[in-house]
């Protein structure tokens, strides 16, 4: 009698356990899998996105970056420089533009302070050309458009340049969806003083928690 009852109960318990385990299999659980496995299995080479960030760039003039293997845009630079083209002022050779100490009130470009590497490496003419003032120049003296100043930066900062092309350095504008528009070096860094300054944080982190832990 008892054994009969006992076995009935045991069987029912086992059945309940089994059936509840079975649930998990056919549910929406994908089981434990690593994300890398999923990326390899489900990546799609040319995705047709339903969304675009085109609207975001309506007011922004952009140019295609001249880099190998990648296709993305950067904000156009020349239309943002107030006194561009430079030959508005730089109509004569630099020597002729120079003013004597006596009549000197303030130098042109007085506000530019160079804190970019040391004087042995960097001076104005490392990047700016005395002859071709509307362009920058490379170390070897080749002209570089102000819109593509990253080529200039890339001469020394090659690892940053590589990261920037890939997307690990710099900042994408608009969003993750196409078109791909990325800040150029000079959009974040002042080329004459490229380091980020220290400043006060925008806000205090966890005020309330701290208060609670005090009392």
């Amino acid at each position: 009698m008892y054994t009969k009852i006992m076995s009935t109960i045991w069987i029912s318990v086992i059945i309940t356990c089994c059936s509840s385990c079975g649930h998990k299999e056919d549910g929406q659980h994908e089981g434990h899998q690593t994300i890398n496995h999923k990326l390899n299995a489900k990546s799609v080479d040319s995705i047709q996105y339903e969304v675009t960030t085109e609207d975001y760039f309506k007011g922004l003039e952009k140019v295609l970056a001249e880099v190998p293997d990648q296709e993305f845009y950067i904000p156009k630079r020349t239309n943002l420089i107030t006194s561009f083209p430079c030959n508005n002022c730089h109509s004569k050779a630099l020597d002729e533009l120079k003013i004597t100490d006596a009549e000197k009130v303030k130098n042109a470009h007085w506000n530019i302070k160079m804190t970019h590497a040391n004087a042995n490496v960097m001076e104005c003419t490392t990047c700016h050309s005395e002859k071709n003032v509307t362009h920058l120049k490379s170390i070897t003296g080749k002209a570089i458009s102000l819109n593509h100043s990253y080529k200039l930066c890339a001469q020394c900062h090659s690892s940053q340049y590589k990261d920037w092309q890939g997307g690990a350095h710099g900042k994408r504008l608009g969003g993750w969806a196409p078109p791909k528009v990325i800040n150029s070096c000079v959009n974040c860094h002042n080329p004459h003083s490229p380091a980020f300054e220290s400043k006060w944080p925008a806000r205090l982190n966890t005020v309330k928690l701290k208060e609670q832990s005090k009392d």
Partner: protein, 406 residues
């Protein structure tokens, strides 16, 4: 039809029995009502203001409520320790105590459900938990398991005693073949409710303090110590305040259960302490906080050391035959072990699981008066229900209350 008539008659007679008593009984019930009203008032504040009125925070997101819930699941499960010998081993000694034990289980379970409910941020949405009309995340969520096992256990513990009482009410002998399967099921079920409740915590790798295999067994050991300890105390109160006689051998046998459970619990505590402190890792940090404090914060230290000393003293008393057989010493041990386990399963288990937080921040927890008020209210409700149940079934069990036809 007649069965329904008998049932209503039983309810009526039971209620009449529960509402009559001496002045002491009325004062007791009056005081409990007062505490329940206090709890209701505190809960109404919590409902309007939100859980902000409790001591809980994003860091320690479960507090006094869940602590009490965890402890009371153990008390409810402990009723089984009286059920097995009575119904299965035919040990007549226990039979007088078993209905009291099951009454205690019912009261404890209702308290459990109440504690979970007051802990909810949106109790109005609790219907989302009802299988069928809500979306029940079974079997994935251990909380959904808990809902099933607690309500199932409540069902078992209401129906089985009700059947026996119905039979006795009519002066008949209950049929074994009818209630025994239910009893056997409830034996497994009782172990189940406490294991599932332990799995609720043990299943969280995020909280290394809970994420250990010993948690479930230790829940059982401590529950089978604290639950029967409470029954021993309750039996004596009933014995002294009613004509219901309970043999000393019954109490002695239950005390044996308490003793073994308390001893096992202590061994497991030692095992846990060894694991945490012999070669402490990052995962021991909550235990370090609990036993020694961190960064000068040590709010739980007094609690845990009180609990451990009480546990050790009580287990020593229980282990020495001479002392255990002395009712006075036994009662002291029972009170000690009850309080010790309450601390151990509450403040000593739930709170340190959250401290330090996932990123190492230490925010301590202390319950607010609102929380304490609600908790007292629920405990009062538990005692209230237990009193009514006991008061109703004693005359039936004794044969003084019988069904009258017509």
């Amino acid at each position: 039809m007649t069965q329904i008539k008998i049932f209503f008659s039983l309810m009526k007679d039971g209620l009449a029995s529960a509402t009559t008593g001496n002045t002491k009984y009325h004062i007791w019930m009056g005081a409990l009502t007062l505490f329940m009203l206090l709890g209701a008032y505190c809960y109404s504040i919590q409902i309007t203001e939100g859980l902000i009125v409790t001591g809980m925070s994003d860091r320690v997101s479960w507090g006094l409520y869940i602590s009490n819930f965890t402890f009371l699941v153990g008390v409810a499960a402990a009723a089984v320790m009286l059920v097995i010998p009575t119904y299965v081993l035919k040990d007549i000694d226990f039979s007088r105590a078993v209905l009291i034990g099951e009454g205690m289980a019912v009261a404890a379970l209702i308290m459990c459900l109440a504690f979970v409910t007051v802990d909810l941020g949106g109790p109005a949405n609790a219907w989302h938990l009802i299988p069928g009309i809500g979306t029940f995340n079974f079997p994935s969520s251990m909380l959904s398991w808990d809902v099933i096992v607690l309500n199932g256990y409540l069902f078992l513990n209401i129906t089985i005693p009700l059947y026996i009482l119905m039979k006795k009410y009519q002066g008949k002998e209950p049929h074994k073949s009818f209630y025994l399967p239910g009893v056997l099921l409830s034996v497994f079920w009782a172990v189940g409710i406490h294991m599932v409740t332990a799995f609720l915590y043990a299943g969280l790798p995020a909280r290394s303090f809970w994420n250990n295999a010993l948690l479930g067994p230790r829940f059982l050991a401590s529950a089978f110590a604290a639950g029967p300890a409470l029954i021993i105390l309750a039996l004596q109160v009933i014995k002294n305040n009613s004509s219901y006689s309970i043999a000393n051998t019954t109490i002695r046998k239950i005390s044996l259960v308490v003793t073994v459970a308390a001893q096992v619990n202590l061994i497991m505590l030692i095992s846990e302490l060894f694991k945490e402190f012999y070669a402490p890792t990052h995962h021991s940090i909550s235990a370090v906080y609990l036993y020694f404090g961190l960064d000068g914060k040590n709010a739980l230290m007094p609690w845990i050391y009180t609990s451990i000393s009480m546990n050790v003293i009580a287990t020593t008393i229980l282990t020495i035959h001479l002392l255990r057989k002395d009712l006075k010493w036994l009662n002291i041990a029972c009170i000690l072990i009850f309080v010790a386990v309450w601390i151990e399963k509450g403040m000593g288990l739930i709170i340190p699981g959250f401290i330090p937080g996932p990123w190492g921040d230490i925010v301590e927890y202390a319950p607010t008066w609102i929380e304490i008020g609600v908790t007292l209210g629920i405990w009062a409700m538990g005692f209230f229900i237990f009193s009514i149940l006991v008061k109703a079934f004693i005359p039936i069990e004794q044969g003084t209350l019988r069904y009258r036809k017509g």
